[in-house]
Amino acid sequence: MAMKKNKKKENSSQLGKKKETAREKMIGQSIGYRYDVNLLPDYKKITPFLKKYIEAMGWDDLNWLEDVHMGYEEGKPAVFCRNANGWVTIPKSIKLPNNQQDRDMIARELLVKFQMSPKHPLVDLKKAYLKF
């Protein structure tokens, strides 16, 4: 039982948490990026939804989604939405795999779904401020 508990701890610590530097402890905030921004996507891990998205847009590859990775916000796995300028936390119901490439594909899929949703914050902003 004790071993199982340790395993669980290891998995959750891989979701972007890292040892804080002295400076980070002092200011109480994280410094730097929350993921490896230069990590190139592994196209073998692409999800069926993303395949359909690429096809619908007429692109040859993941295009802008190559720059989307899963990071973390307040200790929870999250993906950054540049349109809303905020972190979108991943629902607890989604079981996250134990490697960054697979997690990135899930983050990409969720981000597309969030950005294209009529409940995205920009939809309300557009309604309020659209000029032409």
């Binding site: 190139l40 359909k52 295009n63 802008w64 190559e66 119901s93 949703s117 939809v123």
Partner: protein, 284 residues
Amino acid sequence: MANLKNVTKKTKAQAMGMHSEVLTGRTQQKFFNPDEAENFYYFGTYDVDFNKRTDLDVKNMTAAEANKELDNLMSQGYGTIVIKNPQGKHSLGVGILNKLNLIFEGSLGYFGMGSSDGPIVRINGRVGWSCAENLMAGKVVIEKNAGSCFGAAIRGGDLICKGSVGARTGIDMKGGTIIIGGDAGAFTGFMMQRGRIIILGDVGINLGDSMYDGTIFVGGEIGSYGSDAVDSELTQSDQNWLRRKLRVAEIGENFDVSKMKKIVAGKKLWNYDNLEPAEKKGAI
């Protein structure tokens, strides 16, 4: 911060009717169900068909009139639009947030295709300063040469110039990929923060000056390195990615990527400190 939650489970915030709150203040909570629908386009954009094609002659139009007409054609469902006689007009094709196949038969002036999100664009001529500035997504292909500040501050998408480009290519870029078939000028990748630049030819002085992050691949000679730009090892993953990107760009398919140089940030200039926003927050 936005939250992804399953709407079937009623939360306290939902019960309080916070979903329709006015969007003010520093934080927001928005709820949506990831399984609610399979939609690939921004809410409120036009449903266009790539097979529905039309021409638009902009010879006697101002840039504003031409861009408005483009919007009008998209609203009618045209997914392939050929712009005739652009005659080097500035700011053509800016702010397109739609899926679209756009072809310019001629050259563009300054700021062409700026702030776009999604379209596939082919320009059968040259482009002036700051082409595709702030590009968010999509693919822009320039058949000839480009001016300075090519792809300034792009956030995503593929920006391709089959010819040569001027100085400060990819200045302040925050994502996406810039691919140059020919040579690039001085200060390429100046202050870039992330994203990738591929140059098949030579590049001028101060390459990657003050770059924070991101990667630059160079096939030819480098004039000189900028401050904090350093060499890095070209991995097999880099090579596979380069081959695929060059195929997407329709240039250099037979280029020997294994001999390319990889330049990254030395991170000696990094001075990230989130104290400043915290102080500001306190002051406000």
